[in-house]
Structures are given as structure tokens and as C-alpha cells.
Amino acid sequence: MASITLDNLGKVYPGGTRAVGDVNIDIADGEFIVLVGPSGCGKSTLLRMVAGLESISEGEVRIGDRVVNDVEPADRDIAMVFQNYALYPHMSVRQNLAYGLKNRGTPKAEIERRVKEAAEILQIGPFLDRKPRALSGGQRQRVAMGRAITREPAVFLFDEPLSNLDAKLRVAMRLEIKELQKRLRTTSIYVTHDQLEAMTLADRLVVLNGGRIEQIGTPLDVYRRPASTFVASFIGSPAMNLLDAKAVPHLPGTAHAGTIGIRPEDLSLAEDGLIEMNVMAVEELGAQRLVHGRTSGEAITIALPSDAPLGDTLKLGFDRKNLHLFSRDSGARID
């Protein structure tokens, strides 16, 4: 068990391209941190720097009290779950789980105990003597987690571990990972581009964009008070409506803002609504319907109950406290 500190961490590639910069995160012992952002935002690079698979060009990584910048991955007391599982194809599941321990000179009896324990936790006991290719995607995923668990490391690192699974399995595994982490209380860093996965798993979210941190906070914090237009549009589905303040001139108290944000679910039909929307398309999701349209030339989406009346134009109202205001220049939140 350990805390992790990323101190002014940065990565510049030999060619001069910057992948990551000015990253400061304090991760508490036992915390589940999710790094989330679009592809190319530097989240995987960051994770790999913690793992020791990528060299560190600026700043420090500390695991516990130890600076690990120059420590081999094997000696950082971490375990990693890869996107494509990275199971050794020629070894049985049992050998896959045991390989790291064997290399460390762990006594045989101890290896056996840990493998058995991990197999029990993940319910992969029946497959222990199979090769990875004889397993389904979900089972392979479990073995990959099992390999991490048997190590009993101070830190779990997850690199988009669910993105090779189909949608249904992904939801199930997401829950399992959450439960498992709660139970083992192992400090975890989890990388994903899926904001829903990030919201459901994280104790705290780190939203990354262009190699820099946009916001750190609990999922609800980030959802309720996005720190920038980027976060506002990235977290939450369907995405928040971001309107040019000039496009909706009737709103009082928004004169200093460049962009006004409002979530589709915070809009409602109202006879005296300030926003008039021309309906262009309707998506039926069952429990609700998403109505897409335009107001003063800007795209806008509203989430309505599935029995709400529809028309060519709708008048929309909202609660003033649900408005998010962002600066015109930087896109940062204004309170």
C-alpha cells in the first residue's frame, strides 16, 4: 500500500515533441484515480511513466516516500493490466500468474497459495491449466487482473483494460474492478478514454487534454462544476450544450461570459422559455428522447421524457443555477 506523488512531471520526446507537462497529482493510499481524456492527450504516457516503461524527462514520480524515476519497472512494486492483456501465449494461465513471482524468487508454496487465492477471487480456477488462446475475451481479462493481484503490489496500473471487450461485458467487468479495488484497497491508476467508465470507477478523476491537466476532482465535482469548456464537453453524455453568449442575448447576468453551458437534462419545455429551438432530429432512447436542433444558428440538444410532446419549434426553459459560464479567451469557468 502506498501513496503516489507526481511532482511537476513532464515528458518531452527526443524530437522535441512534448507529450506531457506540468502534471501534479497527489494520490492517497488506497485511492482509485482515473486518468481520462481523448486519444493523444498523454494519459497513457503518464501511466507508463509511473510504471517505468517510459523515461521521465521532467519532475519526479514518488511511490510511497521513494523517488522511482530511475527504478526498473520490476522494482517499483507495481502491477499493470494492459489493453490487449499481454498474456504470455505459450504459458498456461497458472504459469502466467506465477511468472513474476518466480522471477522474484518467491518460494513455491507461497506462489501456489497466491495463485490459488487470485484464481478464487476472479473465478478462474477451472481455467488454470489452459492456454490464453483457449479463453474468451472476458476470461483473458480476468487472467490479466489475476496476474496483477498475485503480485500483491502497492499499486495497480490499468491501461484501458476494458476497451477490447464488447459493451455488455465491459459494464460487468467495470463493476467487478470497482468491487475488487474496494476489497483490496490497493492504490490504483486507471487510464480510459471512456468518460462513463471514468465516472463510475473513479474516486477522483483527472481530466487531461493536450498533455496537461484540465481538472482534478471527484466525478460529481467534475460533472457539476467543469473547470473548462473542454471538461464540460468531455464529461457527461449527452454532452453539455455550449452556446456562444451572443447567440442567446436575452439571458440576464451573462454579459461577461463568452460561452454559456447548459446540460441537455437541465433544459425543459416551458411556454415562456427564453430559448427557441428549431427541431431537426429526434433520437429515441427508450427512457428518454434526445431532441437535436438549433437556436440562433447554434446546435443544441435537449433530453426530454419519452412522452414529452414534440413540435417543429420548442420553447426551452432552465433554472438559472444550472447555467455554467466560461471565459471567452481561455474557456475557463467563471463563477
Binding site: A51, G52, L53, E72, P73, A74, D75, I78, A79, M80, F82, Q83, N84, Y85, A86, L87, Y88, P89, H90, Y99, G100, N103, R104, R147
Partner: protein, 282 residues
């Protein structure tokens, strides 16, 4: 096949059967000759069916050989060929895997130069550097030795490229997982790369065994001591008779024995053979 045309299919069968027969003809003739007695060739009409001397001819060649030609028993020559073929195949695979590992998994100064040095061997077949190569081997005292037969043929750009290709297709994540699992480079090589390249090694072995067994010019150059003759190079010495006719039945028995091991390997391991052939040409 798109439309059903029995005529065309019949023609195709005909072509193939003719092809199989033409391909097999010389071997059949050689086999027939190898079962005959010495007098059967005097009459001038060539027998087309096997005679009764099969066991007699073959056992004579294997045990005592054709001493008039200065060649040792065929059994010994086959053993020499086997040693040469195995050393070349195993040696090439071993040093090529190590070089490919170095080139793919390490970054070091002059890596490109090392790569080019290996590449250049492709352009220097033994046939174009016969005399100086002979001089080098003679200078090292390797004439008439198994080392001289195999060592100079062990360098291989083709095999190195093949393993480089194989290693490049092994996902990075596997290496990373191994590093996190505490495997150093040699442990990774032994525990991960070696087992994962097993089929490629087997396929390459088939090709290289045939290559080594069939060497002709090189053993011809560097063996003057009959104890080190290989069968493929020795057979010519048997057929070369200054006066009189070659002992056809015995020469042909030797020819059959010379082709038996590599042909058996190709037919017995056809799948690996085809894989090896296609891969080495990539």
C-alpha cells in the same frame, strides 16, 4: 473453379499427371539402375523395371563404397553430410536469433552498421569469392574438418531478417509485461521469445537442413581427405572414371541415398517446409 467444365478438369488432371511423371522420371530411372547388376548395362538397352540386386548394391555401398574411386563408404559420407547439415542449420538458427534479438530489442551506437554488415552477406555467395575464402579457411587450418565444412556457411542474413520479422510482430506489451514481471533481457529471450518462435525455427530448420545437406562447391574445395567427404560432393568423384564406364548401378544407388534424407524431410514436414520457404523469401 467457377463453372463446371469436365473437359477442362480432365485436361488439368492430364497435365498434372504428365508433370508428376516427368518430375519423377529421373529418380525412377536411377532407382531401377540401382537395383541392377553391373552386366545389365552392357547390352545397350536400358531396363525400365527394378532388378533383383537392390539389397546387395545398397548394403555394399553403405558398408564399403566404391574404393576404386577413392571415396569412403557411403555410410561415412552420409554421416559427414548429416554433421554438416545439422551444424549449419542449428548454427545459423542460433546466431541469427541472437543477432535479430540484439537488433530489434536494443538501441546502441553503430546498430545500423551492424545491420548492413549482416545484410551484405546476401550479396556475397561463396561462388563469387571462391579463391580468397579457400585461402582464409586454409590459413585458419580448417581444411578437412567439420568446422571448416560448416562454420563459414553459418552466417545468414536471410535467417536474421526472418527472426527480425518474427520479433517485430511480437507485441510490445508482452515485453513490458515481462519487464514488470522482473525478466531481464536474457530471461525474456529464453522464456518468451524462444518459445514463441518455435514454429519459425522448425520451418527454417527444414530449409536450412536441405541447404546444408546439398552443399557441393564448398565441401569439394576444402576436403581432400576422404574421411571428410560428404555424399553430395563425393558422388561426382564416383561418377568420374578416367578409363571405362562408371559403375552405373552403384553410382545410382549412391544418388538415391544422397537424396533420401532431404526428400524425406520435405515430404514428411511439408507444411513446415512450405512455411519456411515462403518466410525466408520475405
Amino acid at each position: 473453379m467457377i463453372e463446371n467444365r469436365p473437359g477442362l478438369t480432365f485436361l488439368a488432371h492430364l497435365v498434372l499427371i504428365a508433370g508428376v511423371l516427368i518430375v519423377a522420371l529421373p529418380v525412377w530411372v536411377a532407382f531401377v539402375a540401382s537395383t541392377r547388376g553391373a552386366t545389365d548395362f552392357m547390352s545397350g538397352t536400358i531396363p525400365m523395371w527394378p532388378g533383383p540386386h537392390l539389397i546387395e548394391n545398397y548394403s555394399r555401398m553403405l558398408d564399403t563404397g566404391l574404393s576404386t574411386s577413392g571415396t569412403p563408404p557411403v555410410g561415412l559420407m552420409m554421416f559427414n553430410s548429416l554433421v554438416m547439415a545439422l551444424s549449419i542449420a542449428i548454427g545459423k538458427i542460433a546466431i541469427s536469433m541472437l543477432s535479430a534479438f540484439a537488433i530489434v530489442y536494443f538501441r546502441f551506437p553503430f546498430r545500423g552498421l551492424a545491420f548492413w554488415c549482416i545484410f551484405i552477406t546476401l550479396m556475397l555467395p561463396v561462388e563469387v569469392r571462391i579463391v580468397p575464402s579457400f585461402q582464409v579457411v586454409a590459413g585458419l587450418g580448417l581444411l578437412n574438418s567439420y568446422a571448416g565444412l560448416s562454420l563459414p556457411l553459418i552466417a545468414s542474413a536471410t535467417a536474421t531478417f526472418l527472426f527480425r520479422q518474427v520479433f517485430l510482430t511480437i507485441p510490445d506489451e508482452l515485453t513490458e509485461a515481462a519487464r514488470i514481471d522482473g525478466a531481464g533481457p536474457m530471461k525474456f529471450f529464453r522464456d518468451i521469445l524462444l518459445p514463441l518462435s518455435r514454429t519459425n525455427m522448425a520451418a527454417l530448420f527444414v530449409i536450412l537442413f536441405i541447404y546444408g545437406w546439398n552443399q557441393y562447391l564448398w565441401p569439394l574445395l576444402i576436403t581432400t581427405d576422404a574421411q571428410y567427404y560428404t555424399i553430395v560432393a563425393g558422388i561426382k568423384r564416383m561418377a568420374d572414371v578416367v578409363d571405362g564406364l562408371p559403375q552405373w548401378h552403384l553410382v545410382m544407388a549412391t544418388a538415391i541415398l544422397a537424396m533420401l534424407p532431404p526428400v524425406a524431410v520435405v515430404i514428411g514436414m511439408q507444411r513446415l517446409f512450405v512455411k519456411g520457404l515462403v518466410e525466408t523469401e520475405k
